[in-house]
């Protein structure tokens, strides 16, 4: 192998990992800022994991609402995960990825409920599935309107 081939062989993945680190970290920070801001805006729409509507709530209308997102890890996170797999323990890089995905799914579910004029969501459920190169996170529940 010539020097150029060696440089390409090891250099390409290294460059992709560095791009993943820089762009991925930047995107994650930006996403968390957006999540925190929207969570604050939607705080007045409570969600419950139980089946019962809040005390004194008379439902005039209910509707199935859902929010979903498909997220993917960046190359740097994948590298960290690969290293983690050797030693075991918590995969922090994936924890933050799934945390972002789940909060995003909840926000989309809440936004769907709010845009139709619903004021509470009960029986919230989550589903996570690995599909193709991404991870799908789905949140769904029953939105109710006050009579």
């Amino acid at each position: 192998m010539g020097i150029l081939e060696i440089a390409l062989y090891f250099g390409t993945p290294a460059v992709l990992i560095v791009i993943g680190l820089i762009v991925g970290t930047y995107n994650e920070r930006r996403h968390y800022r957006s999540i925190r801001q929207r969570e604050e805006e939607l705080r007045s729409l409570p969600i419950h994991s139980g089946e019962t509507l809040p005390e004194g709530f008379e439902a005039a209308e209910v509707k199935l609402v859902s929010g979903a997102t498909v997220i993917a890890e960046d190359r740097f996170k994948a590298l960290l995960a690969g290293i983690r797999n050797i030693f075991g323990g918590h995969m922090r890089s994936y924890e933050s990825l799934l945390d972002r995905g789940r909060r995003e799914a909840v926000l989309r579910m809440k936004e769907a409920a709010r845009s139709d004029g619903f004021s509470v969501i009960v029986n919230t459920r989550f589903e996570t599935a690995r599909i193709a190169q991404g991870i799908e996170i789905l949140a769904y529940g029953t939105a109710a309107k006050q009579r």
Binding site: A68, A72, L97, A129
Partner: protein, 107 residues
């Protein structure tokens, strides 16, 4: 009417019509897949897939609702979703629930 509760607030269950289900097997689109491959370098949301699965889930719900209507039901309770990768290129989206006839309480 659709809900994932086991009852419909304000409504009484008159008759159970049994389990109804709808599913779709969604394959990926090669163009979206190439884009997803590039997106995998920097991570983040794969918007193409989010939309694809959203459409597939709506279609599964529609098929479930058709079954419920055929059975003469006017609501589906206890709806659940399941997604699984069945071959490396395709995912099955399943929606299922219990079809019922409901009537307004106090009528």
């Amino acid at each position: 009417m659709l809900t994932n509760l086991d009852h419909l607030p304000g409504w009484r269950i008159k008759e159970h019509k049994g389990l109804v289900q709808g599913s779709t097997v969604q394959s990926k689109h090669i163009g979206r897949d190439i884009f997803a491959g590039l997106k995998n370098i920097v991570g983040g949301e794969l918007k193409g897939y989010t939309e694809l699965l959203e459409e597939a889930r709506n279609e599964a719900l529609r098929r479930m609702m058709d079954q419920a209507k055929t059975a003469g039901a006017n609501a589906v309770l206890n709806i659940r979703f399941a997604t699984s990768t069945i071959t490396p290129g395709a995912a099955e989206i399943l929606a299922y629930g219990t079809a019922v006839i409901v009537e307004q309480e106090g009528v």
